[in-house]
Amino acid sequence: MLSLENVTKRFNGHTAVDRLSLVIEPGVVYGLVGPNGAGKTTTIRMTMGIIEPDEGTIRLFDEPFSERVKERIGYLPEERGLYRKMKVLEHLVFLGQIKGLSSKTAAERGLRWLDRVELGEWKDKPVEALSKGMQQKVQFISTILHDPRLVILDEPFSGLDPINTQMLKDVIMQMKDRGCTVILSTHLMDQVEKLCEKICLIDRGRSVLEGDLGDIKRRFGQNVVSLRIPGGRAVFEAYPGVERIGEYGRDLSLTLRGGVAPEQILRHALDRGPVERFEVGQMSLHDIFIAQVRREGGGADA
């Protein structure tokens, strides 16, 4: 579906994307994850042909980039923007047309979508009359109006309330069911964990970790223990087998050093008092990211 090979982009001496390679297969929901400024948006812009890479090759749909390829992609940029004075439906028709739809098809589909997101009554209102959340919905409709095979969503959840967030997730899953490939670029790791099958962790323009989310979690999952003890973090502060202690409310999350078994932790805890809860858990993507970045010798905060 999409493959990047050693793609590099520099801006005025600053390397935004550094020899990035990744392969995205058709029909998956793929997460492009990393902190702000990691190079996600630049990567997407290069994929869309908006800017050109300095080095490396990008292939979409297994063919070289052409203008017509754009018609098979839906792109929701991080920087949202619509013509403020244009009427909602007119605007959707315009954006549909430049994706190659006829004005009739675009209008039909636009209306159907507006009804579905409960904006049917707003179709003849100027965009600027809509609330920010409503404008987001309109923008999202414009992204998928032409029934693209590949949808790229850059920070799609920013500014959405919980109800709309859920609706967006539903739509994403429906698109996946219909065989559409979705690329989700975000710094919100928990959303990625819930939606994506495959991910690429990006930090400072480089791919830190790539692959199947389940595999990654399994790989990192064994050495995390979540437990609740009255003694709190003081119990493990001096324990050599623990690499890192995270606190989540009353729970502790311990990242274990290699070769340390969870049972040892349990024994250590029991020696010092009662244990209210104990779970050999999987590391959250957030923790994996931080661990991985540390391992690579960086100091970036996620």
Binding site: R45, M48, E71, Y75, G81, K85, F94, I98, K99, S142
Partner: protein
Amino acid sequence: MRKMLIVVRREYLDRVKKKSFLIGTILGPVLMALLLFMPALLFRFSPEMLTSVAVIDHSGAIYPHLERALPDTLPDGSAMFRLREEQVDGATLEQTRRRLAAEVENDALDGYIVIPADVVETGKVVFYGKRVGDIKTLERIESALSTIVIGMRLSERGIDYGEVRGLVRNVDLEAMQIKEGGEERKGGFDFVFMSTYLFIMLIYMTILMWGVAVQRSIIEEKNSRIIEVLLSSLRPGDLLFGKILGVCAVGLTQYAIWGLFGGLMVAYGLAMGGQVAAVAESLSLSTLAFFILYYLLGFLFYAAMFAGVGSVCNTDQEAQQMQQPIMFPLIFTIVIPMLIIQRPDGMFATVISLIPFFTPVVMFMRINVLMPPLWQVALSVAIMIAGIWAVGRLSAKVFRTGILMYGKKPDAREILRWLRRA
């Protein structure tokens, strides 16, 4: 191509539906009418009113003739000048003048004239009044005094003035312009200049207005961040030229509406006769055709440059600085018409009319004043098209790179680098 047309259509409809377009389009002809008819109207209604003048005549010889030398009448048939001789008598000149000045001050008098005793030799007379800007009235008085003084000088040498007057009467030169086919019409500098100047101002103003409109719309699009959505569907060039052509179509629509008004005004002008008719007559279909042609060429040329400026700027204020290099030649074209109109076939006019920055205004002007050789007209069109192509390409390169740059404004060196690289 199809996508570019969609952009053109959107840009066009968006603008034509705006209130500002409606207002501009309606105000335009009103301004045009004012420009066209104001001089004529002013001339018609210029107030000729009763003018009271006191005369202190030290020579004692002028005043008796003055009344006869100022026979002008007001529209109702009464005399325009009311004269009164002021005797200095026992008082000093200074006292008399102060008294008269007071009368002028309270509007009992429009002014007074002091004629020295040696006026026949020196020919110097002074008028004191409030409205010394009323050139027409002053000219009348001056010419009356001149007639009397010249007559006196002649009689001193024993020549009868009445006889001489017939011999020294001025020639009245009426200018007739020869048009194609040997047809003659009342032309003269004023009429040719007026109609040409009107069109030049129109070309200049509309190029500026719509060129800046392109620039602003690109800046707006950058700021509304819709540009990224558009670029994910369109080629940058399709977007750039779609916008330019859309605005271009809006300009032409405005002209079509104005043309309708203009047609009505020409009809009215012809009916009105006189000077107004002469201005109206000096318009011809070929003038209009050349006008539209050069407007289009000029607009496309300048709009491409304005678009380039718009794509590297984030605010209108920034753009105002960056557009200086474009504004300069544009303004220059309306500063030089006087040079061109005197020697429309001169070296200067020929050369400058073939430089794309100046061609639209200058070549149009030359065609209007004195038709240049056809090859020059054809060459100017070819040069313009080449110019538009070149500027459009450069602009598209700058557009492509600049359009996604927010924040920092690039300097000239950086823009040059984009041009070289893209």
